[in-house]
């Protein structure tokens, strides 16, 4: 066995950094189907998992891939899959199963341009709303957006920690550029990486209820075979996990599934700010588009505009309050994303008419150039 944490400095792609982050987080099961531009995550997991006594399976398709990681999670291991748009679409039904059964797992989506097969080798951020609402029914989950290989390492660890703590599938919404670009990735000492594990049940096994919430709203989770009564179903279920075909249990279940996220937003939502202190124009962005935004801030400041950047590391749940608060004190909000308006409409919703909202988007295929943002600023705002 080799160490899970490969402490040191590396020149690494985002895809490989996601895989190293997963191994460092204690992931021991990876089931996936290869797809550009996420294949390198699978390749690296295949190489690394045997080092740490883990299991790699190339499944027959993405439906099976996500099913395999849900099953693995119930045996007590941390599990992950990685895919891109078409595979992400195939995963949607079982993503809902993961949410409904409160199964911790991590799904990496290295986004490319869609719809459908789209531009397989080129970047996009068009799956953001699918990440939020792609499976049927009403629910909450968590989605993060890395903007560099170093982020890929840390955000994959964060994804595992949040998924374990809140028993929910967590999505890492990378993209082709972040996945394939190489930058320095510093992997710290193992002891500097804080890891979370799912809450485990204590007490009498005969009185155990599979979905009885603990103090933070999250139910302790046994592994199959530990002696607890484990009944895992996608049907609406009561606290014991048994199917309960009535609206009262539906309300209870949804209150738990949504509540454990909605009541812990401060812990779940991670953001970053750049030049925000005196800013009266704020760029809101995430993932690779953050880097367009940062350069746009620098350029617009040279022209005398007070521009700052608010970066969403956690995109879902959306930082509603924070956007609302920023909107109350600035002239305008500009969302940059490689789609023609997804997160932009969330920003608009949360701004609630307090500030102008603008979109710098694109149909996909490549990164958005900072000039496009600066042009908009010059067109719409006074310095």
């Amino acid at each position: 066995m080799k160490p899970a944490v490969r402490t040191g400095s590396y020149y690494m792609t985002g895809d490989v950094a996601c895989a190293e982050g997963a191994i460092a987080a204690g992931c021991l099961f990876f089931g996936a189907y290869p797809i550009t531009p996420a294949t390198e995550v699978a390749e690296h997991m295949a190489e690394r998992l045997p080092d740490v006594g883990g299991t790699f399976i190339q499944m027959e398709d993405e439906i099976a891939a996500i099913a395999s990681i849900l099953g693995a999670a119930w045996t007590g291991v941390k599990s992950m899959t990685a895919t891109s748009g078409p595979g992400f679409s195939l995963m949607m039904e079982n993503l809902g199963l993961g949410v409904c059964t409160e199964t911790p797992c991590v799904i990496i989506n290295v986004q490319r341009t869609g719809p459908s097969t789209g531009l397989p080798t080129q970047t996009g951020q068009g799956d953001m709303m699918q990440a939020r609402w792609g499976s049927h029914g009403d629910y909450e989950l968590i989605a993060l957006a890395p903007s560099s290989p170093q982020d890929c390492f840390y955000h994959t660890i964060l994804a595992f920690n949040l998924s374990e703590k809140y028993r929910v599938p967590v999505l890492v919404m990378a993209d082709e550029i972040v996945g394939h670009m190489s930058e320095k990735v510093v992997i710290p000492d193992a002891k500097e990486i804080k890891l979370e594990s799912r809450p485990k049940p204590k007490g009498r096994k005969d009185r155990f209820k599979l979905y009885e919430p603990g103090p933070n709203g999250v139910a302790p989770m046994p592994s199959i075979g530990e002696g607890y009564n484990v009944h895992v179903t996608g049907l609406t279920h009561d606290e014991r996990g048994y199917p309960a075909m009535d609206t009262e249990e539906q309300e209870n279940m949804l209150a738990r599934i949504k509540g454990k996220i909605r009541n812990n937003l401060d812990d779940i939502i991670h953001t970053e700010e750049y030049m925000m202190d005196d800013a009266d124009i704020v760029i809101v962005s995430y993932g690779i588009s953050t880097r367009t935004g940062l350069t746009a801030v620098d350029e617009a400041r040279k022209l005398g505009y007070k521009v700052g950047l608010f970066r969403l590391i956690t995109v879902w749940p959306f930082p509603e309050q924070k956007i609302h608060e920023i909107a109350s004190r600035v002239k305008g909000l500009i969302t940059i994303e490689i789609n023609l308006g997804q997160v932009h409409y969330e920003v608009e919703r949360c701004a609630h008419g307090q500030a102008e909202t603008h979109l710098v988007g694109s149909a996909g295929g490549k990164i958005i150039h900072p000039d496009k943002v600066v042009s908009l600023i010059k067109e719409v705002f006074q310095p």
Binding site: E176, M181, S182, E183, T295, D298
Partner: protein, 201 residues
């Protein structure tokens, strides 16, 4: 309207271009890695991905900086390394007066630029060593000597760590041939600039 972005003095933007199969991506990776891990600077490598990296016109873009790199693509190349005419033709228009162009003289016969231009018969030299595919490593040596974009030690260490096992020594030799040729090219240029040309120079 232009807002020529971030040509920060401490930032060098480099494009390596050629055919897929010439080791263009590896050359970009070695330059980026040497800057990042050897010279301890920030560096970002983005690369052509898809069919072009396997035969067509292919390129790797490297940014080296003293501070965090925001926009990750090259906007104005300070340095262009061209190992094919098609690659040169694609990017030559981006070169500015202060840019530096490095070419394989046999593979890029038609050059018309106002910026500094240095050429080397990298592929022919590689063939003489017996390994045509080491032209990229010779080019890195040439690049290191001419531009100082990365330190010689970082370049050598990274070459040694990046090439297939058993070929380290040959690759190091290739690197040094390119490097030495670069140094003598620079010396020749200095002498010419000082008017010392001809047999006694």
């Amino acid at each position: 309207m232009t807002t020529s972005t971030q040509t920060v003095a401490s930032q060098k933007e480099i494009i390596v271009t050629g055919f897929g199969g010439q080791g263009i991506i590896l050359a970009g990776k070695i330059i980026g890695m040497a800057a990042s891990l050897g010279d301890n600077k920030e560096s970002t490598l983005t690369q052509a991905y898809g069919p072009e990296s396997r035969g067509g016109a292919c390129n790797a873009q490297v940014i080296i900086s003293d501070r965090p790199i925001h926009y990750p693509y090259v906007q104005k190349p300070h340095i262009l390394l061209a190992l094919s005419q098609a690659g040169y033709d694609k990017f030559a228009g981006l070169l500015e007066k202060e840019s530096i162009l490095l070419t394989d003289q046999d593979l890029v016969p038609n050059v018309n630029v106002t910026c500094a231009h240095y050429e080397i018969a990298a592929t022919r030299m590689a063939e003489k060593i017996g390994h045509k595919m080491m032209a990229n490593i010779i080019m890195i040596g040439f690049f290191t000597a001419i531009t100082g974009g990365i330190s010689k030690k970082a370049a050598e260490d990274t070459v040694l760590n990046s090439v297939p096992k058993g070929t380290e020594e040959k690759n190091l030799k290739a690197f040094n041939q390119g490097y030495d040729y670069g140094i003598s090219t620079l010396k020749g240029k200095e002498k010419r600039a000082a008017g010392k040309t001809g047999a006694i120079a």
